[in-house]
């Protein structure tokens, strides 16, 4: 039985609380409208889509179910929009040495983990992207990553990451897990990945995770196959995507890529120490049923039912807890009081991040689909 502590039960109240999010969507997504009918429809549908899901979060009282819909759809449409942008820019979703030499590779947040040591030692960034111009420039992504991580901690991984929706989506396909037990210690492998990638990249002055291991190149951009090395890189990409993003999430119902492999997830976890928002277990209410631990897609709850440093604040444990012991909490405030306020105060910046970071890509993708098939 799921708790129903957070359901407002009032359409009027939920609508009023959704209004700020509607205004934020209108403000952030209206930039760049061209007046073309397909663009306008894309904009309207996107605002309606995000706003209605936020309304449902408040009205129904569940975070994760509605967040996941927004998150998964955002990830898929982001890829559509991103790959279309690349085709318009360079005629292909692959990159060659020419794009690398001319620094035209878009920068993604995962690269942040690999540029840290060289930036400190050599005062340079080891990524062939643009510092300030073009889309997904290095400076714009760093501003977003640092800013949102300070505010949300690892909440970025459940609300802002435009890749996370892929393994989140696959982890929800089967009704019950086929592999029922996943060793929770695998969660620490992501931290090992973070350290190894940071050091390996510093040693070779190349972003090695991007070069060799990133599965999400399949849904964004990848190496053009010109020789054995690039062929091997593409094979590795297919293997990591197939196993970590598709097969293992299907079998375990866990976000295996995000929980055990992504170095950015481990890096973001460190920001949980700074962020005001966190998930806590109010032990006075806990009946030790273990549902939180069992349901957590990121293996982020300990054996004694306490959220750990790698919690991505997706809200599933809060939804699943039958007694409401798992709560969104604001550090420094009394435990067990005003938890609906804490939840709401977290939802606004978290959902704003999703809308502003990925929303325009969603609108673009809808517009593109309309232009391709209807207009």
């Amino acid at each position: 039985m799921k708790n129903n502590l957070y359901s407002s039960g009032s359409i009027l109240r939920s609508s009023l609380l959704t209004l700020p999010m509607v205004l934020i969507s209108l403000l952030m997504l209206s930039q760049g409208l061209t007046g073309h009918l397909a663009d306008t429809i894309g904009f309207v549908v996107t605002v309606a889509f995000y706003s209605s899901l936020f309304f449902l979060m408040l009205y129904k009282g569940a975070i994760d179910k509605w967040r996941a819909i927004a998150f998964i759809v955002s990830a898929v449409l982001f890829s559509v929009s991103f790959m279309n942008n690349l085709i318009n820019l360079r005629g292909s979703v692959t990159y060659s040495d020419e794009e690398i030499m001319t620094c035209e590779i878009p920068f993604c947040h995962i690269v942040t983990t690999m540029i840290l040591i060289p930036a400190a030692i050599k005062q340079t960034i080891i990524f062939p992207g643009s510092i300030a111009s073009g889309f997904a420039s290095i400076s714009s992504m760093l501003v977003i990553v640092i800013g949102s991580s300070i505010i949300l901690g690892r909440g970025f991984c459940s609300w802002g990451c435009f890749y996370g929706g892929w393994d989140d989506g696959f982890s929800r396909v089967t009704r019950k897990p086929i592999i029922k037990r996943v060793n929770a210690a695998y969660r620490w492998f992501a931290f090992a990945m973070f350290i190894v990638m940071a050091l390996w990249s510093a040693a070779t002055l190349m972003p090695e995770y991007c070069s060799w291991l990133c599965p999400f190149k399949l849904v964004t951009e990848r190496d053009a196959i010109v020789d054995t090395e690039t062929l091997l890189k593409n094979v590795v990409m297919l293997i990591t995507f197939g196993t970590l993003v598709v097969a293992l999430p299907l079998l375990t119902k866990k976000r295996i890529q995000c929980a055990t492999f992504c170095p950015m997830g481990a890096f973001e976890s460190l920001f949980n120490k700074i962020s005001l928002f966190h998930v806590v277990n109010n032990e006075s209410k806990c009946i030790k049923c273990g549902k939180c631990q069992k349901s957590c897609p990121l293996l982020a709850i300990s054996k004694d039912n306490k959220p750990l440093i790698n919690c991505a604040k997706c809200g599933r444990c809060v939804d699943e807890c039958p007694t409401g012991a798992m709560q969104m909490h604001i550090k420094g405030t009394p435990l067990g009081k005003h938890f609906t306020v804490a939840r709401l105060l977290f939802l606004y910046p978290a959902y704003s991040l999703m809308i502003t970071l990925i929303g325009s890509s969603v609108a673009n993708a809808i517009s593109l689909i309309l232009k391709t098939f209807i207009f």
Partner: protein
């Protein structure tokens, strides 16, 4: 006092929006940081010279390309001794090079290009 974090948490929504609304300004501040330049090993600076070979895997031994670089101040030709295998790796060791000089190889389908850069 313990309730002070509530307004702080409420401010986080505004802070999140400020990140995006003021993106141009934040980016300007960011690019002024000392590390905000792409490493020339990765991107290259000014192309000083380049060598093209028709082999995908070549070996360059000592003093293979004397005078590839010109010294900035004296305009003297500087001899570099290049060691190592130029293959899939982008990096090579260049004996006697200055810290600001970089060398990088780039392989296309039918030939290998070795480019020599000097930091911008």
């Amino acid at each position: 006092m313990k309730y002070i974090t509530y307004p702080l948490a409420a401010f986080m929504t505004i802070a999140m929006l400020l990140i995006f609304i003021n993106m141009g300004q934040w980016m300007q501040m960011m690019v002024q940081l000392p590390f905000m330049k792409v490493d020339p090993w990765i991107a290259g600076g000014e192309v000083v010279d380049s060598v093209i070979t028709d082999s995908s895997r070549i070996y360059i031994h000592e003093a293979a390309h004397p005078g590839l670089f010109t010294n900035d101040e004296s305009n003297e030709m500087v001899q570099y001794d290049i060691y190592g295998v130029v293959s899939d790796s982008l990096l090579m060791s260049v004996a006697g090079s200055k810290p600001d000089d970089v060398i990088k190889s780039c392989k296309t389908s039918d030939h290998q290009i070795i480019r020599f850069y000097r930091k911008r």
